[in-house]
Subunit: 512 residues, 2 copies
């Protein structure tokens, strides 16, 4: 039996077009008219606000303070850290003037008399400017550790952009810490990796693999970079968050030293770590279906949307009162540890289009109430995670109000769990571990439309030219190394690429 | 009797130096090394986060959705609204290049091959780019009203900067709405003015006068601008928030029209409104004293700070356990409608300096606990709003834990009320209404060190050259017109300046 889905584009047919349609139809974001920058619309921004609040709570609970640093970074700050700037220099917005003047023809131009002596860079990331602050703040071992975080916008000039996944401006949090020892800094780096992993699984219901990036995929200037990699429904990887152990390189460039109890002036060890609005792209491609987005209840701005079937007549007032009373009762209930977030959608729109707008946005529970429901003391419930019956009809269920109210909290919890389980099972079954040789690898990835997922191979972690050869070989298949999973099985065979002794297992796949 | 205060600079002696010292000593903000931009430090940013959360709740409760718009605005957008750009054109950060390259001497320069065809402006405010979105979003009367808000950073190039009060980059919220009629848009403008007024009074404990700005002080492009004006302890005014009725001017420039039920394509009426990190400067200059900041409990990141008198010996563990237990009990209490926010300060710093660091930061309640307190089942409480006894000694009070816990919520409420009352009384007594003539006006403001406050005069609201003459006359006394209070008494005399019939009362004073 064929279901007529709410979206024109289907995941199995054209994943890229499907993604774009979800972004538009779910009221997530739109082109801004400004090159590479998006407008994040209310439902998309509401999801970001939920992510911010829940992640911020976890960041604060682990002893980090929020601060705010300037959006502009003087050019000279970048010149100090050669390796770092090498990685970013090619794609930054440069402010050169601080005034406009009329061009004499009714237009405006940068005022030549207002040229900056030193150009300012719109921050692509804040290691340099925060390092300068650390060098002021840190004098003694008593000042350590310094653990701070910032929520901010950053800009990296991008030639090809895609909403949420790659935009010139994006929103993120960036954590920056300084420690007395390598061990402490590494412990922080891994603790945040685990924080990101559990946040992604528990809050976003988005399963990920946490592991170390190979050397050539490290953050510019980092000694070690770790990531969480999520699997999208087309089998591609999305690097959803990274944590970096920066060693003493940034400390040396910025002269961040502390006087130890022995009186020595010692360089600190720093870390940095971030996740961004990219997570929203991950949520869409993890949970969306051919009817639109499905938002995990923990991050849904509205977890329950009540749609009154208004008829523009005298009965509407009673119906609205009935709906208001239900909304109030539901708001007194808890789901997933918080009061339930309920919207009564009173817009002057017909009930059908209104229902489908919330299906496309992915509100976890939609409750429709018409005159008959009211007469019977009932309401009709639609679960976004189980939209259709076996016969292809919409799976709506009329429930007595008491039962609906009593069950709402647990049901939202169940939806959260189910979305996670579904995605976890997909990730697990989409990692292939028995690819025997190069031909098999090539064959495995030959048909991109089959969404081949990732392959885990054992390798000897070569360096230099040997490593470059492997990278090139994979690149020819449009593959990249994702990460070395922290929880991978021990090695038990030779290097997939060279036949030498393998030292670790690494994931390989296509990526966003 | 002389009190030896915690700050070197006192308000009565050098208000500007006192302000700078509070900003530094209360861990609020510091120079960033980037021209005109500040680093907002943890305590300062924590206060901003409280302001954000409480104001955001109110903005959402009145039907506004949060969105996010690009930081960059194409130059051509500004060229469309001539009156608007006139007000801002002189002070904007202009992005002209999107890449850096090596200069061959180890440095970096903007890449001449990466010059933008059209320069981008770092947003000084977002009317133009949000107007472009409105023109896409609004088609029919059914789409109205559109009521959105954004939390963002903005940049206005400033030559002379002062922390929180005037910085090149600052953080703010900007609300933008579109309505079918002038009346609706004006109602929104005034509703937000009232929201700002009550927020300032009830949350910041900062009394303000809400009123309309005179024509020459309007926002560029606005038809009417309203402000809340707060009185600082040196008698100067701080414009703490503004709301604007923009008429149809922006709608015309951006072609924002709706099809009415009659089928006409009609221009919408828009509003905009904002408050910024400037509010923090207002809080400092409203509530600070010669011992530092006093943070109103509603916006204090920590309302109660527990300082254990650690001795670096075996008894510390028991003392910390005692403190932890008290912290847990206090966190179960509510103050001002929320759970009490409690910090146990375990830093390896001596109790004395630790106490004074929290006095300077202005934590509302400081609780010190030493071995003797513990032995007696007590704790010693210091109210930041009543720091000294009549004899000049620190007013600390040892209380049994049960009494302290039971009283904490009400006490924090009392501190909030008291800070507001104190500031309200100061504002009320610092407005002079009986200035007879120009000589009296001049005499009133002759001695700035006497903190002469504001003067309310009746005026005939002249226009053109007559108005300019009044503005110039006031400027010679370093005075500006602040606003026409909404709740001013009716006029009952002639215009202070011209002797003509007065039409309204207006506040005049020095300002930040």
């Amino acid at each position: 039996m064929t279901i007529r889905h709410a979206l024109k584009n289907h995941r199995a047919v054209d994943f890229a077009a499907w993604y774009q349609e979800v972004v538009a139809e779910a009221d997530m974001a739109e082109e801004s008219g400004v090159r590479g920058c998006m407008v994040i619309r209310p439902w998309g921004y509401g999801i970001w606000e939920r992510i911010q609040r829940l992640l911020d709570d976890r960041i604060k609970a682990t002893g980090h303070d929020n601060c705010y640093f300037p959006i502009f970074i003087p050019l000279s700050y970048f010149e100090k850290e050669a390796e770092h700037v090498e990685g970013f220099a090619k794609e930054m917005a440069v402010v050169t003037h601080h005034r406009l003047i009329g061009d004499g023809k009714g237009g405006l131009v940068p005022d030549p008399d207002a040229k900056l002596e030193e150009p300012l860079i719109v921050r692509p990331t804040s290691e340099t400017v925060i390092g300068a602050a650390f060098s002021r703040w840190i004098q003694s071992w008593r000042d350590l550790p310094v653990k701070i975080n910032q929520w901010a916008n950053v800009v990296r000039w991008e030639m090809r952009t895609r909403m949420f996944l790659r935009t010139s401006e994006f929103l993120w949090q960036e954590g920056h810490t300084a420690h007395a020892t390598r061990d402490e800094a590494m412990a922080e780096t891994l603790a945040i990796l685990e924080l990101y992993r559990s946040f992604s699984e528990d809050v976003l219901a988005m399963p990920v693999v946490a592991g170390e990036k190979p050397e050539h995929e490290r953050f510019p200037g980092a000694v070690a970079t770790y990531s969480i990699e999520a699997m999208m429904q087309d089998g591609k990887a999305l690097q959803a968050g990274t944590t970096h152990y920066l060693g003493t390189g940034f400390a040396e460039a910025q002269d961040i030293r502390y006087q130890s109890s022995d009186g020595d002036h010692t360089l600190v060890h720093t870390t940095s770590w971030g996740v961004s609005t990219r997570l929203i792209g991950g949520v869409i491609m993890t949970h969306g279906d051919d009817d639109g987005l499905r938002v995990p209840p923990m991050i849904a701005p509205h977890q329950i949307v009540i749609v009154p079937m208004l008829r523009d007549n005298d009965e509407d007032a009673a119906l609205l009162a009935y709906c208001e009373a239900l909304a109030a009762r539901l708001r007194e209930q808890s789901a997933l540890g918080e009061p339930i977030r309920v919207l009564l959608d009173k817009r002057p729109v017909k009930a059908g289009p209104k229902r489908w707008s919330w299906v496309k946005k992915g509100a976890p529970l939609i409750i429709e109430i018409g005159g008959r429901d009211m007469a019977e003391g009932k309401a009709t419930q639609i679960r976004r995670d189980a939209l259709y019956r076996d016969d292809g009809k919409l799976a709506s269920e009329a429930l007595a109000l008491d039962a609906l109210v009593a069950g709402a909290g647990a049901l939202l919890g169940e939806i959260q769990t189910r979305l996670h389980r579904e995605a976890r099972e997909r990730l697990d079954r989409s990692i292939t571990r028995d690819i025997a040789d190069r031909d098999a690898l090539k064959a495995h990835f030959a048909d991109a439309s089959a969404y081949p997922g990732w392959v885990e191979v054992q390798w000897s972690r070569p360096t230099g030219a040997d490593r470059d050869a492997v990278v090139e070989e994979l690149k020819a298949l449009k593959l990249t190394m994702r990460n070395v999973p922290r929880d991978a099985a021990p090695v038990d065979g030779p290097c997939f690429f060279s036949g030498a002794t393998a030292v670790e297992r690494i994931l390989v796949g296509r990526a966003y």
